[in-house]
């Protein structure tokens, strides 16, 4: 076997992702040692997975928004508004949770259409539109229930937020793991076959094998850990928490949109060169509206997960969330200038941020120090990103 740097460089591996994963692992190991083994315990990893899900869900679509040269500062407030609305309809107005969620979706769509139309058709910069939304919808969240907390009790609905009954169980988790691994393997084999049919050069076998085995190992390790988390007074381990399942599905769907559909391709084209996109006939305004529509769907999903996790809709739901979501996206390698970003990056970015925060909490680091460190991590990630781009010649 010929270890060839050129082969690796040409094999279209995103080294940034590899490095970020390595950083994540190092962070986990360091915290594990400092916390005397608690950090990597199944319970703590279960915690982190749940705590990250809401930010993770929103970060996947924020990648697309930033790639398209927009930004949404109002995600936290709108999510809060939608969440309180759904909780209010269930608790005070006595609607079924299904009807309440649909109404929440309708509200989210209305907000997105309004903000999207201002951005796409009237041409107001999305920064300004969503800055207004940030303030307005925080107020709306307060008005919906007159500031009163709306507790939730429906057992099925509460599962969506994880928690005691919110794991899918060991069997289902293993089935999921096997399905995912098969999926990864099939997709790799498919790619190799198609490349052969079309006469396109393929990566050497050992590279492709490695590219498949590593994600498979990660999936299996994750599921094994979730299956090891056993709450003492229950008779079976938790398995994968439902919010993580939801987050995973969201990430896969958005990834599919990015790589396999015209919509995804056009988002990147618009972000790369909006003038060129218009000149070649891409319907820029329509694509932008669709993007905001997608955003509204995911805001609703995130709101549902958030209120079921908290078991209540509070008027402060999602306060400052937009900062965390944008930070996760940027740490994950999405360039604020537009045109560049990956979904897996947003996943890693969200995990890195949450691991650092949770780890520091385990170590009793004071609140002021924690915030300072997280802010600097964000800057470090961007510095690294800029350096990486220079190295590959992708400088923006």
């Amino acid at each position: 076997m010929n270890f060839d740097w050129q082969t690796l460089k040409r094999a279209q591996i995103d080294w940034r992702m590899v490095l970020m994963s390595a950083v994540l692992i190092v962070i986990a190991l360091v915290f594990n040692i400092l916390s005397e083994g608690i950090f990597l315990s199944p319970e703590n990893l279960y915690n982190i997975a749940q705590q990250t899900a809401v930010v993770g869900i929103l970060a996947t679509v924020m990648v697309l928004i930033i790639v398209a040269r927009h930004i949404d500062l109002s995600v936290g407030s709108v999510m809060g508004f939608v969440g309180v609305l759904i909780a209010f309809l269930i608790y005070t107005a006595n609607w079924s949770w299904q009807a309440a969620c649909l109404m929440g979706l309708a509200a989210a769509i209305a907000v997105s259409m309004y903000q999207g139309a201002l951005t796409a058709f009237v041409g107001v910069p999305s920064f300004v539109v969503t800055l207004g939304g940030l303030m307005s919808f925080r107020g709306a969240a307060y008005l919906v229930a007159d500031g009163k907390t709306q507790p939730l009790a429906d057992p099925f609905f509460l599962k969506l937020g994880g928690g005691y009954n919110g794991g899918i169980g060991t069997t289902a988790s293993w089935i999921l793991a096997v399905l995912l691994c098969c999926g990864l393997l099939l997709s790799m084999l498919n790619k190799r076959r198609a490349k052969k049919t079309y006469g396109v050069p393929s990566n050497p076998a050992w590279v492709d094998l490695l590219l498949v085995l590593i994600p498979m190992a990660i999936v299996l390790a994750f599921v094994a850990t979730m299956n090891a988390y056993h709450i003492p007074n229950k008779d079976a381990p938790q398995g994968v928490p439902i919010p993580v399942l939801i987050w995973g599905v969201v990430a896969l769907v958005i990834s599919f949109l990015v790589h396999r559909t015209r919509f995804g391709r056009y988002i990147f084209a618009i972000g790369g060169n909006p003038d060129a996109a218009a000149l070649v006939g891409i319907p820029v305004r329509r694509v932008t509206m669709l993007l905001f529509l997608l955003l509204s769907v995911l805001i609703t999903v995130a709101a549902i997960v958030a209120i079921s996790r908290l078991n209540a809709g509070t008027n402060s739901l999602g306060n400052n969330l937009e900062l965390l979501v944008i930070a996760a996206t940027v740490i994950g390698g999405t360039a604020l200038a537009g045109g560049s970003g990956t979904i897996i990056g947003s996943v890693l970015g969200a995990l890195i941020m949450q691991c650092i925060d949770s780890g520091m909490l385990l170590l009793d680091v004071s609140i002021g120090t924690r915030y300072i460190i997280i802010g600097q991590v964000l800057i470090a990630a961007v510095v690294f990103d800029v350096a990486y781009r220079k190295w590959t010649g992708d400088a923006l």
């Binding site: 279209q12 198609a194 396999r260 391709r265 084209a269 060169n273 006939g281 045109g339 992708d394």
Partner: protein, 268 residues
């Protein structure tokens, strides 16, 4: 979408390909294009000249569907057509190579070739492999050394980026090609390549509008030339009938040369 409906091997050299009649466009109070008429026949190159702001780019952009026409008509092979968007123009066989090349720098050469007109699988997803294979063939035709088609185009040389832009016209079987300053960013070797390509396309019956500042290119490549100033057409002449000074006179002073016959038909 592959327009095989235009049969390029058999073309009637006497049937006008594009007829622009009394085209007008104003931006606010400024007449960017003021009552301009122009013809293009198959297999000929018509250069459009004028200095910045003369209206030549705007005129061509209207033909390409990038701007709507305020008033006037466009006829393709004798039939009136409505061009309201770049897609309309593309469907009619009109391809453009813009001065800026209209490339998305963050996407690779294959994606750029098919931008806006991606090939789809039967499940309506992107058919990456078919696009890859087709793109490879087209690029090879233009530049045998161009193999780096999977990296973002911002990392390609000026000439390679030009190849990608030109490939759009070739792959989608342009009947009418608009080239805006095609050799501005190219070295001598690549300029020669563009020249060869133009000859090839002419032989296939493609009509070409060439916007250029470069007098040498205009006199070397075009059959006829039209000069615009301040949105108006000053005159259209057979290239061999006028001198460089006379052309400059038209561009700068807007004065048509004395004693020269204008012509709406190609040089034969």
């Amino acid at each position: 979408m592959n327009n095989n409906s235009h049969n390029k091997t058999a073309f009637d050299p006497n049937r006008c390909l594009v007829e622009l009649r009394n085209i007008r466009k104003a931006f606010g109070g400024v007449h960017a294009v003021d009552d301009v008429s122009l013809n293009l026949y198959p297999g000929e190159v018509v250069a459009v000249l004028g200095h910045n702001g003369a209206g030549k780019s705007t005129l061509m952009k209207m033909l390409a569907g990038a701007y709507p026409i305020d008033s006037g008509e466009v006829l393709l092979s004798g039939e009136k057509v409505q061009i309201r968007s770049p897609s309309d123009a593309q469907n009619l066989g009109i391809e453009s190579i813009y001065q800026t090349l209209a490339l998305a720098d963050n996407l690779d050469a294959v994606a750029n070739l098919f931008l806006g007109r991606e090939l789809l699988t039967r499940w309506r997803t992107l058919d990456d492999h078919r696009m890859d294979a087709d793109a490879r063939k087209v690029f090879q035709r233009l530049n045998k050394n161009f193999t780096n088609i999977r990296i973002p185009v911002r990392r390609l040389s000026g000439g390679q980026r030009q190849v990608v832009a030109i490939s759009r016209a070739i792959y989608f079987n342009a009947r009418i090609l608009i080239m805006d300053e095609p050799t501005a960013a190219l070295g001598p070797e690549e300029t020669a390549m563009v020249g060869n390509l133009i000859q090839q396309l002419k032989a296939e019956g493609v009509g070409i509008f060439l916007i250029s500042h470069d007098m040498h290119d205009v006199f070397a490549l075009s059959d006829r030339l039209a000069v615009m100033k301040n949105g108006k057409r000053i005159g259209t002449y057979r290239t061999q009938d006028v001198t460089e000074d006379e052309v400059l006179g038209m561009i700068i002073a807007g004065k048509a040369p004395a004693g020269k016959a204008q012509t709406e038909r190609p040089a034969r």
